[in-house]
């Protein structure tokens, strides 16, 4: 109980810093991959600081309230996760949070932001099966949906769940809005969608969105770590290493692939989910 609350507090306080730092690394590494010097590692924090200092603007008055709800629900998702609560509930709350992001984008009735929002919905549809199946995998491997129980398993769960790991890392590309699946927000410059579902978010609203993304990324990285972590305390080091590797992999994919259409994204994601997680699931059900 006490440990759980400590973790939650640590998450709430540290997650934005870790998330921002990871994003800074991301930008630096991307730049180096393109043979550029790149921005300082702390650049994301400078950006958010600037956004918070600018004039507050909006297209629709309700956008800010929807975005704040998105932020708080995402924090709740991570808090539940780091408290050691039910993993499936975490993802349910996460999908509710994502719904609020969708609302924040469509509430403006702006063409670019609505088009981005529609694609965001398709992204949600693409990744949700893999996310739920990951929970199923953990349940089979560890016998419980509880994050605390899963983290306390004797052997690292990835031993049972390699297929689920592949599927989860695959959809992580969607969740982290990385190319080739960044169909909804298009973070690379000058694309047909302007800024996708963030088009109408400026200054403070964008800062809220950005911070939420950090919270979300830390939560997702936590799930990646959950594959590795076990009752041995040193497994935390292994988990951190794997998290950094996965993060690097995402950056690499981001920089080496062109964007896909949503049709391709949906097909490929579902196919990978079915194949990797599905086969793993069938084997696991027979074994355990």
């Amino acid at each position: 109980m006490k440990l759980g609350i400590t973790f939650v507090l640590l998450y709430i306080v540290l997650a934005p810093f870790i998330g921002g730092f990871l994003e800074g690394l991301d930008r630096k590494i991307s730049a180096r991959m393109q043979r550029r010097v790149g921005p300082p590692v702390l650049q994301p924090f400078y950006d958010v600081k600037k956004l918070l200092n600018k004039q507050t603007i909006t297209v629709s008055t309700s956008q800010m309230f929807l975005l704040i709800t998105y932020l708080v629900l995402m924090v709740l998702t991570g808090a539940l996760f780091f408290y050691g609560a039910d993993l499936l509930m975490c993802f349910f709350v996460m999908s509710t949070a994502a719904t609020f992001l969708y609302f924040a984008a469509v509430v403006t009735s702006s063409p670019y932001s609505s088009a981005g929002a529609q694609r965001e919905l398709i992204q949600m549809m693409a990744y949700e099966p893999a996310v739920l199946l990951t929970c199923v995998g953990f349940y089979l491997a560890a016998g419980s949906f509880n994050v605390a129980d899963i983290a306390g398993s004797k052997i690292s769960n990835i031993a049972y769940l390699p297929g689920f790991f592949v599927a989860f890392v695959f959809i992580l590309t969607i969740k982290m809005r990385k190319s080739p699946f960044d169909t909804s927000a298009s973070h690379h410059m000058h694309q047909e969608l302007v800024k996708g579902l963030t088009t109408e978010m400026g200054s403070r609203n964008l800062a809220i969105f950005q911070i939420t993304e950090w919270y979300e990324n830390v939560f997702l990285m936590g799930v990646v770590g959950l594959f590795i972590i076990n009752s041995n305390i040193y497994s935390i080091i292994a988990a951190v290493v794997v998290i950094l590797l996965v993060y690097f992999l995402e950056v690499l994919i981001d920089n080496s692939s062109a964007r896909m259409k949503w049709q391709q994204m949906l097909k490929i994601t579902w196919a990978v989910t079915l194949l990797a997680a599905g086969v793993n699931l069938i084997i696991l059900m027979v074994v355990r």
Binding site: T58, S62, M89, T99, V107, S109, S110, Q118, E128
Partner: protein, 639 residues
């Protein structure tokens, strides 16, 4: 308990009354009064039963007379169907009515003498069904009074037969009460036929060629189920010498081979009533009927009859081939129809598809047949009944005001018809958003299907819930988007009684969401215990606390966020349209320098996943599954 026969007979009397009174005002008055009486007596039944300790009770009445009355009524229904099918030249449909009725009549008159037994069974499940039928049915009647007035005002091309409409509504309520309270399978069969025929007549209310076509489709599909039911009952009656539902379930639980075929046949019948694939088309066709009947029959109550039967049979199906068949069909229906729902833009069609889809999940829960799945299924049923009834009524009211029920036309509904939009929002939220019950039910269903090692169902649930949230979120987004430029202004012409019904539904929805951990402990856990003997608490404490946190936050956060953002100083900007926004976010300058109106639309992907593409293949698949598994079941027993 005299209140039980009262619940069944009273609506029937009112039904006759409705048919006789031809003065609208007087009839409306009586309809209100009777609806209230029905709601109150459903509550009174609950209270009376609760005073006696919430124990399951078997009630016996002087059966001889009643049995004959029921047989006579069944024959009358048969004659009605035969006459109508000859009138509309669908001769073969009459066979589906004549055969089972003849079979039942033969069995009852010339079959083995049946021992005297109880005919009415009152327990947690039947009381829950009574409450759903009574309260939601009653509210729908209240709503219907206002709605039908507006309906005939707009649709002058249809003959005003409201006396007939209300007579059918009440007759249907009577049948429903009879159905969920009966223990005697012969009674169940009669009430089953009665609900089928009420639905048939209501779908054909407008008498347009489309309505006639659809109502006969509904009729033959439901009667086919009725045939299976009759055969199952007679088979069981001949072999076991009794016709009690609980006897059948007990027999199956003891592993008696005799029970296998009746259980399979009755479960098959339930599939038709619950509009599972391949029988889903009747429910979609039923949407031609006026909205109250769609709400009452095709989402909130009648289709629940199928679910009710499956829940009753659930302990008998645990781990059997029948259970597997039911779970497979249910899970498949859940996924496929939710995909089809994505491609629909007609609000009522989306509701129809999502009804089938959600019923599929409940059917799958029943098929797996463990404590957890039934727990999940019962909650799904409660949430579904309230929110679907709310949504149907709301779409109906919106259609009256907007002259369209296309979701695309509901863009910015929050600003055009705020009251209806809020109700719609609550209803949709109840269908899929955390912390409303759908999610927690999905949680339990998923957990149980993993525990049962039902891989296919796990996949269906995972993929199905992704597609389900897609179409709901899409719809919700439409409602809250800033409104388009419209040429007309719209007026909220919702009648007061419609608003009353909608408000009560919305309150019930939120109350159910907030109090559902409590309901689980107080009501649903005993229900499970009754069904399976020893019942444990399905909802672990850890989940319960998590849920409470989520419930509090999901309600509190938007509220405080709203208060905060209301006082935040913001500068309004035009939305980004490459600098050619004409100044009100609704128009832009086109290449010729003229103003064009902006019109946003959702993704429907109907070319890829439309019901035209998916319906036939999935019907073929499910027919094959049903044929193979039924022959496996029946062959397994007979050989």
């Amino acid at each position: 308990m005299p209140i039980v026969p009262f619940l069944i007979v009273f609506p029937l009397i009112v039904s006759v009354l409705m048919f006789v009174i031809r003065v609208n005002k007087v009839r409306n008055f009586f309809a209100y009064i009777s609806a209230v009486i029905i709601m109150v007596s459903a509550g009174a039944l609950t209270v009376q039963w609760g005073m006696q300790g919430f124990k399951p009770m078997l009630l016996t009445y002087n059966a001889e007379v009643v049995d004959h009355v029921i047989l006579a009524a069944e024959i009358i229904l048969m004659i009605l169907v035969t006459v109508l099918s000859f009138k509309y030249k669908k001769y073969w449909v009459s066979l589906l009515s004549i055969l089972p009725t003849a079979l039942i009549a033969y069995f009852e008159l010339l079959g083995p003498a049946l021992p005297e037994g109880g005919q009415i069974y009152v327990d947690h499940l039947s009381i829950l069904m009574c409450l759903i039928v009574g309260v939601i049915g009653g509210l729908i009647v209240v709503y219907a009074v206002g709605y039908m007035h507006g309906y005939h005002h707009h649709h002058t091309e249809f003959e005003d037969r409201r006396y007939y409409f209300f007579a059918l509504l009440f007759a249907f309520l009577s049948a429903m009460f009879g159905f969920v309270l009966s223990e005697n399978l012969l009674w169940i069969d009669f009430f089953w036929e009665m609900t089928s025929i009420c639905s048939f007549l209501l779908i054909g209310y407008t008498k347009t060629p489309e309505a006639i076509n659809n109502c006969f489709r509904a009729l033959w599909m439901n009667l086919l189920g009725g045939c299976a039911l009759a055969v199952g009952i007679v088979y069981y009656g001949y072999n076991a010498g009794v016709v009690s539902l609980h006897g059948l379930v007990e027999m199956a639980q003891n592993g008696d081979k005799l029970a296998v075929i009746p259980v399979a046949l009755i479960a098959f019948a339930a599939l038709t009533k619950a509009a599972q694939l391949p029988f889903s088309t009747w429910l979609i066709g039923a949407m031609v009927a006026p909205t109250p009947s769609s709400a009452l029959l095709h989402s909130a109550t009648m289709v629940k009859a199928g679910i009710y039967v499956l829940f009753r049979l659930a302990p008998a199906m645990t781990g059997t081939t029948t259970g597997m068949m039911i779970a497979l069909i249910g899970g498949f229906t859940f996924l496929v129809t939710s995909i089809m729902a994505i491609a629909q833009s007609d609000g009522k069609k989306v509701l129809a598809f999502s009804t089938i889809s959600n019923l599929g999940l409940m059917v799958a829960c029943a098929g797996v047949g463990t404590e957890e799945t039934i727990w999940a299924g019962v909650f799904l049923m409660m949430f579904h009944a309230i929110s679907k009834s709310l949504l149907f009524q709301d779409v109906g009211a919106t259609e009256n005001a907007l002259h369209s029920r296309d979701i695309e036309d509901m863009h910015g509904l929050l600003y055009i018809l705020p009251r209806l939009a809020i109700f719609m929002f609550i209803g949709i939220a109840g269908m899929f958003l955390a912390p409303f019950g759908m999610l927690i039910s999905k949680w339990a269903a998923l957990k149980a299907s993993i525990d049962e090692r039902n891989i296919i169902l796990v996949f269906f649930i995972c993929f199905g819930s992704a597609t389900t949230s897609f179409y709901w979120t899409k719809w919700m987004g439409k409602i809250i988007s800033a409104s388009h430029l419209r040429e007309k202004t719209f007026k909220d012409i919702t009648k007061k009684n419609e608003v009353i019904s909608l408000t009560i539904h919305a309150i019930m929805m939120i109350a159910l969401c907030v109090s559902f951990p409590w309901i689980s402990r107080v009501y649903v856990t005993p229900l499970i215990a009754e069904m399976f003997g020893a019942g444990e608490n399905v909802l672990p404490d850890a989940i319960l606390y998590t849920l409470i946190v989520v419930i509090v936050l999901v309600f509190a956060v938007p509220f405080f966020a709203y208060l905060y953002s209301k006082h935040a100083k913001v500068n309004m900007k035009l939305s980004y349209m490459n600098g050619i926004n004409t100044g009100d976010n609704r128009k832009f300058v086109d290449a010729m320098g003229e103003e064009k109106t902006l019109w946003l639309s959702n993704y429907y992907m109907h070319k890829v996943i439309g019901s035209r593409k998916l319906m036939v293949p999935s019907q073929i698949f499910t027919v094959a599954v049903l044929l193979i598994m039924l022959s496996m079941i029946i062959g397994g027993v007979l050989v």
